[in-house]
Symmetry: none
Subunit: 197 residues, 4 copies
Amino acid sequence: MLNRRGEETRQLIKKSSCALFAEKGFKQVTMKDICERTKLSRGGLYCHYSSTQEIFHDILDDFMNHQEDTISEKIAQNIPAVNILNDILETYRQEMMDSPSSLSLAILEYFSLRNLSDTENELFQQYQMSLKSWKNLIRYGIERGEFHHVDVEAVFHLIIFAYQGVRMYSKLMPIKEDIPTGVVEQIKKILIKKNQL
Amino acid sequence: MLNRRGEETRQLIKKSSCALFAEKGFKQVTMKDICERTKLSRGGLYCHYSSTQEIFHDILDDFMNHQEDTISEKIAQNIPAVNILNDILETYRQEMMDSPSSLSLAILEYFSLRNLSDTENELFQQYQMSLKSWKNLIRYGIERGEFHHVDVEAVFHLIIFAYQGVRMYSKLMPIKEDIPTGVVEQIKKILIKKNQL
Amino acid sequence: MLNRRGEETRQLIKKSSCALFAEKGFKQVTMKDICERTKLSRGGLYCHYSSTQEIFHDILDDFMNHQEDTISEKIAQNIPAVNILNDILETYRQEMMDSPSSLSLAILEYFSLRNLSDTENELFQQYQMSLKSWKNLIRYGIERGEFHHVDVEAVFHLIIFAYQGVRMYSKLMPIKEDIPTGVVEQIKKILIKKNQL
Amino acid sequence: MLNRRGEETRQLIKKSSCALFAEKGFKQVTMKDICERTKLSRGGLYCHYSSTQEIFHDILDDFMNHQEDTISEKIAQNIPAVNILNDILETYRQEMMDSPSSLSLAILEYFSLRNLSDTENELFQQYQMSLKSWKNLIRYGIERGEFHHVDVEAVFHLIIFAYQGVRMYSKLMPIKEDIPTGVVEQIKKILIKKNQL
DNA sequence: TATGAATGAGTCTTCATTCAT
DNA sequence: AATGAATGAAGACTCATTCAT
């Protein structure tokens, strides 16, 4: 019965839904669930969004737009590649351990409901952005003599899919701290020359 | 002695459902879908299974029971670790590329619907069996001087989650041959000593 | 909870719906109404029909298939045209006065919801069948010297649309006996030669 | 003095709604549709009308009030009955062919939603006004020796219901020019004495 | 075992309507 | 007067599940 400004309500819906998606995945969340969580009426919710897909899309959009390419910035600042790598991997490690707030399952479900064939899907775009950043970083590390002469793309794929794999399984299986830590350490070993450690 | 007719029907149900799960994931598949695919009536299906969970469980069971520990066997036969590894990785590579028949998405959804807290879930058991086999293999390789002295568990995790990560994403994104190949090559580099290649 | 044979239930649905359509027109009748009238559950109804359109279509089909061309039969029997005409017009008169059981409003609404452009709609087919029968009759009457030399199609249109007009308005306005009677008498005067009356 | 702004909006609403009613009939048009067509907000529309019934009623009212009894005027001017008749029938003919702008379906639906029992409904009033005018005309024609000695009411009913019947069906079926023309010609034949043609 | 009719709960979706601004 | 957010009720539709045959 409140009469908020529209954008406020949209934010509320996104926030509440995001929590629900993280808890239950994508398909388990119904418009009804979101009504209950937001305390909005059926019709009230439909004023702003007409499906969970639409809400999820908006949430993803927000994520994407808030992601800046910090790697490139740091490279521009001439920060040592090892330091940049360590920072990223520490973030990854944290994320692999923070299962409850992870949308990875929901993302997977969301995209599995759509026609994957189109190369234009957001997931693929994300992947490509990520690929670009990592390529820059690895090449930068190699140029600076901090990293081994590795197959850049192959190493990227190993990193990114191991990371995604852990995130996914953390929703389904008890993942203790040692797994993310071990994975991160292995990645460092692959990339960083011994004298830099 | 099993009732032949009944067992046949169960096989039919499992086969049809398996295809459906691979196509659509777990939650998208309804008892109704399965009725249609198997050409069984509602009641007919319920004679054998009373939920998709039950069917999926049975399918997983079949998979598990058909998986023998070929690694241990090969080790017992004193086959070179590098050969064993190459075989396994080739299988993995094939699987990473065979997206359509992959149940990975369905598995994920299936387990995400249950109470993950229980360490006794089948996924975890699978994980542990896999861990045991790989540990044996890696140690065997190290003992024989074929593999580097690596952190056994950490390398296992890197391998297994990268593999699972690729399988998962192959359902959602175009995964070309080079990704599985690159990932497999990286794993080989981590494990196998140069003089063995 | 009864477990009738399917066709029985379909008959029940058609009968109940038909009454509802006659009472309320087409769009006023909801699947829910039909559930209540038939004492079927939501799902039970949907087993047989998935929309009111489908039910109405079936009802119309039944009507069409039960309509035989009695006019042609009578002509074949060499019955006097005046007698045939009198019979038909008496039926029309009765129908114009039996507003409660008339589906005319429902028919109108039903067809107005569809794409009228297609000449293949059932209403048009009905019209054409009717046209054919009347043409035969009028020509037969003229040949036998019982009817005036009229413009066959024009007279048909006058008859049929006046009849339909009355039926329609009988749903909306009090139509006393004199209107149908008067209309029928006028038609007779147009067609029948004085010496035949 | 009416609030100019307000009256303008009401006119806009009536005009837009009228188009919608002609397109879709009465029940298919929702307050939401009208909001969209008029570009008014929900609340804005409700400032003026609180239901589609109210709007439709107003539209009908306007129609009724704009209808003057031109027949009586012409009779007063001693214009030949045949001329008057020809004018009216030409108007009817035009209207029977102008299906898109016809409200007949909407009118039917509108009145079918109300309690038909009341003899006081607007439709009936319309009918009575029309009856009165036509009676005058036909009697006038008879008196002047231009028209046959017909049963005035019966002929009126034949005319008016055939006209309404065609208008109605023109919404549902392809009605070519020959139908209205034929109907009009028949009516002339019934009324007009041969020597007047 | 197997059929398929029937139930009923859950969810989606659309609107008429109200109300703070 | 006008806006548009919010409510809530009505109706549609889909399934898991049961049951008489």
